[in-house]
Subunit: 369 residues, 2 copies
């Protein structure tokens, strides 16, 4: 994998780049829809391609538990399994182990945990985290990190950050030993403490990863603090490597984070909100079940060029939602993903024209959304 920096915005830290992978080129900044269980919920791969999705994120934790990474490997890998031939980024499973499972025991070697599905006991360590992602055939793998809740004391944050560094080193070595297949990203931790974040970044950069993620954000801290942390970490990340902000965020988060030098994003928000009938528009969101849409012949967003807005009324989308129809999730997901991908396309264009400050100002005028 090779990262090409195309241009930088003169007034912000926004960057326009290109990730060259063996499965094709990814334009950055990029938004990666989440395909937790080897499917972006309700979408066929064809629908994702029509939406111009360039790369997906899949969750190792879920696929490790079901159907099992070895099963996926025997079936030819994740791309073949789910019928998706473009790049896939996988997380390490760490975040879900800490957030979904009953945690049994954490040690320097890794985490023993109980499956949220059936209570069965499993162990996840740094080497296995790499092996799982390799079995899946991931194009961009993530190191196993220790994921801390917010708020955390500086003591806990320090210990957790150092454990993550130790695991990062072991992941890095195991990745070397296995021949450096595809890419492996380090993850900066350190909670809200700038000095810990800096130490984490410095020591990860010394290990030399193909890319760097900022983890442990969007876990409940206030937005301004999240932006502040990104801003404080960015100077310690090498310019020539991609930066990935994990699990973030709203459309305005994307703009704010790009302004602070972030290149890659993933978030369940567009897809999960879609299934709950929360639809993004340029003027904020609408809640489609609202009775005021019962006979509304207008599209969700009259400025939107997505196939849903071109064809269907709010009244029809409300009907599908109220009637609990599967097509409600499908059409809402198409609209919300289109909105995110269109936002990221606009972000790219504004950077290319060296006018990123305009979209930033527009976003701030709109207020957080």
């Amino acid at each position: 994998m090779r990262f090409e920096l195309i241009t930088k915005d003169p007034k912000t830290r926004a960057r326009r780049g290109r990730l060259h992978t063996s499965r094709g080129v990814i334009e950055t900044p990029i938004f990666m829809p989440v395909g937790t269980q080897a499917t972006v919920k309700s979408m066929t791969p064809n629908q994702l391609r029509d939406l111009t999705v360039e790369i997906l994120l899949c969750n190792s934790y879920h696929l490790f538990l079901r159907p099992g990474h070895e099963t996926v490997a025997r079936l030819g890998g994740l791309h073949r399994f789910m019928g998706w031939d473009r790049p896939i980024l996988t997380d390490s499973g760490g975040f879900q182990v800490f957030s979904l499972s009953s945690l049994r025991d954490i040690s320097e070697d890794g985490v023993r945990f109980q499956s949220h599905l059936d209570g069965s006991t499993h162990f996840l360590g740094p080497e296995l985290a790499v092996d799982i992602q390799m079995a899946l055939g991931s194009d961009i793998m993530m190191i196993l990190d220790d994921c801390l809740a917010y708020p955390a004391t500086v003591f806990d944050a320090d210990r957790s950050m150092k454990r993550s560094l130790a695991w990062a080193e072991r992941c890095r070595k195991h990745w070397d030993m296995r021949g450096q297949p595809n890419a492996l990203f380090g993850i900066v931790q350190g909670s809200i403490y700038a000095d810990l974040r800096r130490e984490s970044a410095d020591r990860l950069v010394a290990m030399d990863f193909p890319g760097y993620a900022i983890g442990g954000l969007a876990v409940g801290e206030p937005k301004p603090l999240m932006y502040e942390i990104i801003e404080s970490v960015e100077p310690y990340l090498p310019e020539e490597k991609p930066r990935y902000l994990m699990g973030v965020g709203t459309p305005s988060d994307l703009v704010e984070a790009v302004a602070r030098g972030v290149d890659m994003f993933d978030c369940v928000m567009p897809t999960r909100h879609a299934r709950n009938g929360w639809l993004f528009t340029r003027d904020g969101h609408i809640v489609i079940k609202n009775s005021k849409y019962k006979e509304d012949p207008e599209p969700v967003d009259s400025t939107c060029a997505c196939p849903v807005c071109k064809t269907y009324s709010r009244a029809y989308l409300r009907h599908l939602f109220i009637a609990n129809e599967i097509l409600s999730s499908v059409l809402n997901t198409i609209h919300n993903l289109y909105f995110y991908l269109d936002t990221i396309r606009r972000i790219r264009q504004f950077i290319e024209f060296h006018r990123f400050e305009e979209i930033l100002a527009e976003t701030r005028r709109m207020g957080a959304h």
Copy 2:
């Protein structure tokens, strides 16, 4: 609407025809997927077009209750509402009133019933049944009929059949009065009693409808009896009008009924079974959740040319089903609808070559499926 009889099989009563409607031509025999609530569950209209669906069935009862036929009319009619520009056949609502709602009172004027959604009380009579379907903008409307459960005494069946005839007459008159928009089909009733069926057919034909349906079958009676009834009714239906067997059936039912002169079918089976993980194949069905498919790399049906069989393994489809993913319903529905549409395409080809007996023999060799 005009029906064109293209050719007849020399050894059976199978017919190959063409229905000319204002929204395009429908090749017969035809299978109509069911779009109960203004959506074929889990399918986008584009996916239906890709599957070569020529006509859909929608349910007046459901749309009358939610969102309301007048709402649909104000939004430009059902085609615009659901983004489907090919023909739509609507039922009259009678069947669902009898099967889904709490029936309060049936009289010569119609039925007073309680909504299965919220218990609200409504009245459906023959004139309103036509008005609802006209408000929806249906291409082929059905008369309101009295739907009888199986088994029924000859006394009940006679009374019910005569009530249906009276309603048919009122529907016919109301349709005339409203200018004969699109088409209106009569429905032959009479339970399992051949003389009642004949009386029903004769009197409907005397009213001169653009097409005739056979109703009140597939309600629990044995298969051979169902085939016998179709066989007994067919000679009394005019050759130059299409015949529609309502709510039927399995793939082998389609073949058996075509052999007895039927041109049109609708059934929830392919779509409902899909959501339950029951997939049709040329060798019978498979139940996709079965653990034997856990690592099965083969497609559902290796002889099937559908996009699901071309791309996905049984193992992936099993994973989606077990993981309760929406995409499971989507892909299973694509496969099952393809199977039905492919069956009906093969039926047409065998009739064209005057070799329908071959597909009939093949079907009987396979046993009921």
